[in-house]
């Protein structure tokens, strides 16, 4: 059964230095509040896993928390580069970062394999791509039935997966809807899981379009974090802050500007008290 914790206690209890951590959400429902709490607590030496690192991993990498990054597309969607990621890869600032680079298809299949408790994922991929030459975790096998050469990648099995969702009920079951990404697979693939939610409701609504419901016994901890996906969005609650995604380009381009922004908006700010009160209610 999932435990209701404050965001601070949930992150402190579930995310440990050196962990392989997946904070997932495909453009929608990116768990920024939880990621910011990881930054505030300075939990480092992490292997960060995410299909699209987005601004959140740009921030975590820029703060020096990541030893390694497993990813498939590392840009600022519709804007351009992730400058902190680039600085780490190109110039080793604030520390060198190892990268394990995949395609989207590979990451999606690898999460699904993790959820299915398989050691690896097999799919038709990486044909003619140099990625296989630079990533030893991309290999090929022959299909035992047809002889077709298929790509193989290890299953993703994070120590902890963190996602943001719209609602949890009082039993700790979780509902997310809209663009649901790889969150279900990432949760089921992980040893521990933390879900931040917009709100706790008496009962999950019935008949939701395209809803993913995760039973309480698949989730380690739930923390209430209204607005916890901003500047990403939560369908039915608030829209994506596109202007912020553009502004981030200038903020993140310069190391000092970046550090000043993080101090003013993340590390110098306590986890909002309202979240803690809500969770304890």
């Amino acid at each position: 059964m999932s435990a209701f914790l404050s965001l601070r206690d949930a992150v402190a209890g579930l995310v440990r230095p050196g962990d392989t951590v997946a904070l997932e959400g495909f453009t929608h429902l990116i768990p920024f509040a939880a990621g910011h709490e990881v930054i505030r607590q300075g939990i480092g030496e992490l292997t960060l896993v995410r299909m699209t690192p987005d601004l959140l991993y740009d921030q975590m990498i820029g703060m020096g928390l990541a030893r390694r990054l497993v990813f498939s597309w590392g840009g600022n969607p519709g804007v351009g580069s992730l400058h902190r990621l680039r600085d780490a890869v190109e110039r080793g600032w604030p520390r060198p970062i190892e990268i394990e680079e995949h395609s989207h298809a590979a990451m999606a299949h690898a999460y699904a394999a993790g959820a299915a408790n398989l050691p690896a994922a097999f799919f038709r991929g990486y044909i003619g791509s140099d990625l296989a030459a630079v990533n030893p975790n991309i290999r090929f096998v022959d299909c035992p039935f047809t002889g077709e050469r298929l790509a193989a990648v290890p299953a993703l099995r994070p120590d902890v997966t963190v996602v943001h969702a719209q609602k949890a009920d009082r039993e700790g079951n979780v509902l997310l809807e809209g663009i649901v990404g790889v969150q279900k697979e990432a949760i089921l693939a992980a040893a521990r899981s933390l879900v931040t939610v917009e709100e706790i409701v008496d009962a999950l609504p019935r008949g939701c379009l395209n809803a993913v419901v995760l039973p309480s016994w698949t989730i380690t901890a739930i923390a209430v974090a209204p607005g916890g996906a901003r500047p990403s969005y939560a369908h039915g609650y608030y829209a994506r802050d596109n202007a912020f995604y553009r502004e981030w380009d200038a903020v993140s381009r310069d190391r000092d500007t970046f550090r000043a922004w993080m101090a003013a908006n993340v590390t110098g700010v306590a986890a909002p008290q309202a979240e803690i009160d809500e969770a304890r209610r």
């Binding site: 495909f26 453009t27 929608h28 299909m51 699209t52 990813f71 498939s72 597309w73 590392g74 840009g75 969607p77 519709g78 580069s81 992730l82 990621l85 680039r86 890869v89 190109e90 680079e101 395609s103 989207h104 298809a105 999606a108 299949h109 999460y111 699904a112 799919f123 038709r124 991929g125 990486y126 044909i127 003619g128 791509s129 140099d130 990625l131 630079v134 077709e148 050469r149 809209g178 663009i179 649901v180 990404g181 790889v182 279900k184 697979e185 395209n210 993913v212 969005y233 369908h235 829209a239 994506r240 596109n242 202007a243 995604y245 553009r246």
Partner: protein, 258 residues
């Protein structure tokens, strides 16, 4: 009515799409081209975005691949693993739109690094969905702005297979899909030679000379036996495209990507 080079590019790409196509759409120019086609000559064109939205019918252009507008207007929204397993790998997509930082004469693409992989001079965003879009869609369209930096003799890194380093690799690798069938730039339209698969100029946009294309291409560019003049954007095409961008700007409070 005057128009920009980017508008010419978008209109050219849109014209290549047909009513019965199922299109795997990327953000930016491909998305503008697909929605322009849907609002003009191909109202039944089916748009699939990698965030899982199938038959999305957005009224404004999305700024990210996973905008809420796509989900709200889609016939169905599936998970990302399902999108890549059943829909892309399953062979349900007829056209994949691709771009990159660099393209070579056989339509191979680099979107990974400039320089050495381990210590790159420029770290690019990476392949995302492209490596499998390139192999699984029935054919692909490439959309890129023409320049010597982008149209190169030799790629720094092959992220995404086109027709292969010599133009003959697709069949050798067991692929039955066509690969790059069309490249639209701001100067011209290129299509692969039927036998060699080398991209050659088949149409020049209004006002563009052969010399300009030669100058902006990093390999000795070939021209088809008959080179057409790309028809200028019609008043209707421009009106629909500009309306789309205007609606997008109002909805997002910022300009669209392209």
């Amino acid at each position: 009515m005057s128009w920009s080079a980017v508008e010419m590019m978008t209109v050219s790409a849109a014209r290549a799409l047909a009513n019965d196509d199922v299109c795997f759409v990327g953000i930016g120019l491909p998305s503008a081209a697909c929605n322009l086609a849907r609002h003009t000559h191909a109202p039944r064109l089916r748009l699939v975005y990698e965030s899982g939205t199938i038959e999305a019918r957005p009224d404004v252009l999305p700024l990210s691949i996973g905008d809420g507008e796509l989900c709200e207007t889609a016939l169905a929204t599936v998970s990302v693993p399902e999108m890549f397993q059943y829909w892309l790998q399953g062979g349900r997509i007829t056209i994949g739109f691709l771009g990159g930082a660099q393209v070579d004469r056989f339509g191979n693409l680099n979107s990974t690094v400039i320089g050495d992989y381990a210590r790159p001079s420029v770290r690019l965003p990476g392949g995302g969905g492209a490596p499998e879009i390139a192999s699984c869609c029935r054919r692909t369209f490439i959309v890129m702005r023409h320049s010597r930096r982008a149209f190169v003799d030799r790629l720094a890194f092959v992220t995404t297979l086109g027709h292969g380093p010599t133009g003959r690799e697709r069949r050798a690798l067991g692929l039955t899909t066509e690969g790059p069938a069309l490249l639209v730039s701001d100067l011209c339209i290129m299509r692969p030679h039927p036998e060699t698969k080398e991209l050659q100029v088949t149409s020049l946009h209004p006002g563009v000379t052969r010399e300009r294309v030669i100058e902006q291409t990093g390999w000795p560019v070939a021209f088809a036996a008959a080179v057409d003049d790309t028809p200028a954007p019609s008043a209707r095409e421009l009106e629909v495209l500009r309306d789309l961008h205007a609606r997008t700007a109002i909805a997002h409070g910022v300009d669209a990507a392209e």
